[in-house]
């Protein structure tokens, strides 16, 4: 074959913009999730069940629940986010979608950010929506419930973002679920402390603006750093696949 006289194809100089590619990733994840609605309910059911365990296991007294309620809800939310993280990249890894994602010409960390955003909309946001109901069940007052919802609204994206690093690191490993919890729980501690601490201050009537701003700073920090770390971790995990 005489390859020499064949015309070379012109190389492409431009491609789909990062924003459009992020939208496509987000849209596909949403579509896949809604094809299997049962999976969407699982973290929510888990959330409700964990909260139910505390009155049963410790004490149904109003005074105890009022004091511990915010902490219980936060811990339950944290655990249910943790539970759902294993699926963040797992299915994509198994069917090869992740390889295609890594090979897309857009910066990988933006695509990972889009995936994490989809994960939050599907798990974190429903938890926040459900919180007022559970807050009433553990006898929190109206003001505390409001502040609790706010802290969860700021805090759950941080949980998803940090969790995405762990999910990417443990991709394709045996017993990835337990390992993921081991790696990630220590990193969740600051968010938990400030989440519950803010509600506690609110219950004492102290102003909470500063604490919420600090949680906002956590969110900004996680938004800027976590996608890079997860993208690097994804590349590593795929490299030996």
């Amino acid at each position: 074959m005489n390859a020499d006289c064949r015309p070379a194809l012109t190389l492409r100089q431009d491609t789909v913009g990062a924003l459009a590619a992020m939208q496509a990733v987000f849209a596909r994840d949403m579509k896949v999730a809604f094809r299997q609605r049962q999976d969407l309910l699982n973290p929510l059911l888990f959330f409700v069940m964990v909260v139910t365990l505390f009155p049963l296991g410790v004490s149904p007294e109003v005074s105890f629940l009022r004091e511990a309620g915010a902490g219980i809800l936060w811990v339950a939310a944290l655990l249910s986010v943790l539970l759902s993280l294993d699926h963040l990249f797992r299915h994509d890894f198994d069917d090869g979608t992740l390889e295609q994602l890594v090979l897309q010409p857009q910066p990988l960390f933006l695509l990972v950010l889009a995936k994490t955003a989809a994960h939050w909309v599907l798990t974190g946001l429903p938890l926040v929506v459900l919180t007022p109901v559970l807050g009433v069940m553990v006898h929190l007052d109206g003001n505390s419930i409001g502040v609790l919802c706010l802290t969860l609204l700021i805090g759950t994206p941080v949980l998803s973002l940090i969790g995405s690093i762990g999910a990417a690191l443990t991709l394709g490993l045996r017993s990835a679920g337990v390992l993921l919890s081991l790696l990630i729980i220590p990193l969740y501690i600051p968010v938990l402390i400030f989440g519950t601490g803010t509600v506690a201050s609110a219950a004492e009537g102290a102003p909470v603006g500063a604490y919420l701003a600090l949680m906002g700073a956590f969110l900004v920090l996680a938004l800027t750093l976590a996608p890079f770390a997860s993208a690097a971790a994804l590349r590593i995990s795929l490299s030996n696949g």
Binding site: A3, A8, Q13, T97, E99, P105, G241
Partner: protein, 212 residues
Amino acid sequence: MSEPLLQAVDLQCERDERILFRDLSFSILPGTVTRVEGPNGSGKTTLLRMLAGLNDAWSGSLLWCGKPRSAQREEFLRNTLYLGHRPGIKPLLTPMENLRALTAGRRPLPEPVLREALDGTGLTWFQDVPCRNLSAGQQRRVALARLLIADEPLWLLDEVFTAIDSGGVSAIEDLLQQRAAEGGAVVVTTHHDLNLPGMQRIVLGGGAANEC
């Protein structure tokens, strides 16, 4: 002489304490089909993943259009299409949705074009069935539909013929040859006895490798 698209110089790859290949050099020219050959475990898939930029546990150098690839990763990714063992088909989505999602990040195409591509792979009547209800061969065809609309100059295809019936195989052989005639470059690994006129070979195995 047209410039090689991709050039490998002294590639060496080690896996689990074993040298898969060393001193492997070759160039992929536009308008050629290259077949990577070798027994099981000789590193065909690994080589292809290296070329695609997925695996980076190797040493040596890879040049894209004459310059180091690592310095122009985005240009490289824009112009390379990789289809792996697991081609990125979501079982819950229909062939149409899958194809749309896979092309959205590279070059979005209008619906009729995608429909035509699926027609071309014989999936006319399955466009709206979730892929998990399709057979292995049909799922493979969804992935191959990308080849009918892809404009990337370099294709890296891992085990393209897996689960494809004999009619499909010869059609794909024609497709690869036609692509080479247009000026595209194709690298394939396959156990199927592929023999196209003018095909280049990269033979792996036995710890050392040589190019024929």
